[in-house]
Symmetry: C2
Subunit: 174 residues, 2 copies
């Protein structure tokens, strides 16, 4: 490592601080392939478990819907528009907790693919009424079938009853 790693701002400082005069405490080396490492306080933290679960669940969603190239947020936007045609961008953004600035780009890509259309609102010339196109409606139906498949993966992973319990517990966040 020498040159590169030793010039590292901090590694050098650390080396000075504690030269290398240990031997006993550093026993955690044996193996350390990533399994037998304790998490201490992390176990018992809801946030950590939820973060890991969320990573897994999003990865499975993306993988399961890879053939149609739809990501979780795109799916949520299309689902809400499909269920509430005519919604403004502000309303969708608020409902889903997305920044309105970000929704602009999301809708750009969905409009490019002819899944969604922005129609000038008749009542407020500042806003757009969002609708699924005919193609978007057909596509969403397929997305929902794939999303249901993904949901079955979740049930397989944590158990059918646990999945339902989870949905109940977290219902207040939807």
């Amino acid at each position: 490592m020498a040159s590169k790693q030793k010039t590292s701002r901090k590694a050098a400082a650390a080396a000075i601080r504690r030269p290398r005069a240990r031997a006993a405490n550093d026993g955690a080396y044996a193996g350390d392939t990533g399994d037998d490492i304790g998490l201490d306080a992390l176990v018992g933290h809801a946030g950590y478990a939820v973060r890991r679960f969320q990573l897994w669940i999003f990865q499975d969603f993306i993988k399961t819907l890879a053939t149609v190239d739809i990501r979780p947020t795109q799916y949520s936007v299309m689902t809400v528009i499909g269920a509430n045609p005519g919604l403004s961008q502000m309303a969708v953004a608020k409902r889903l907790g997305i920044e309105r600035a970000r929704l602009v780009h999301l809708l750009d890509s969905l409009e490019e693919r002819d899944f969604v259309s922005r129609i000038p609102s008749a009542t407020d010339r500042r806003s757009h009424a969002l609708h699924l196109t005919t193609r978007g409606k057909t596509a969403l139906a397929q997305f929902k079938r794939l999303a249901a498949e993904h949901e079955r993966h979740v049930a397989e992973k944590i158990g059918k009853e646990n999945r339902e319990r989870l949905l109940q517990i977290l219902a207040c966040f939807t």
Copy 2:
């Protein structure tokens, strides 16, 4: 809106496709402050509920530990190092599911604040043995107290029993 919005690549196309000849279907306007909007298929998707919950929980964690300027990932790194002194960067990255490239920067900032030190490994000159500094140990103790406070916020939000049930259900992901 005219100029800016009408020149928008897609809005224009959409307007052409369906001029503005609607009136009935667009009823969803009334109010639309963000509450009375249905989610349709999103309700029943574990991923959506988990995402919303995760956002809430991380925001509360960040807020609760704002005084010490520690974010969830930094906390997890310090906790794992504290519980397993001497671990290599690879081992920490693997255990926490963090990219090793990202861990470099995380450790840089923790080392700058004198919470963590990278000590040259005695057995493998490529790797670093990670340790908490004395200051880091004291600091982590405080972080844990604040994290416990955050955890109480979670319990208040979803209920004590539900929080425990959640931890049980998601134990396989830690």
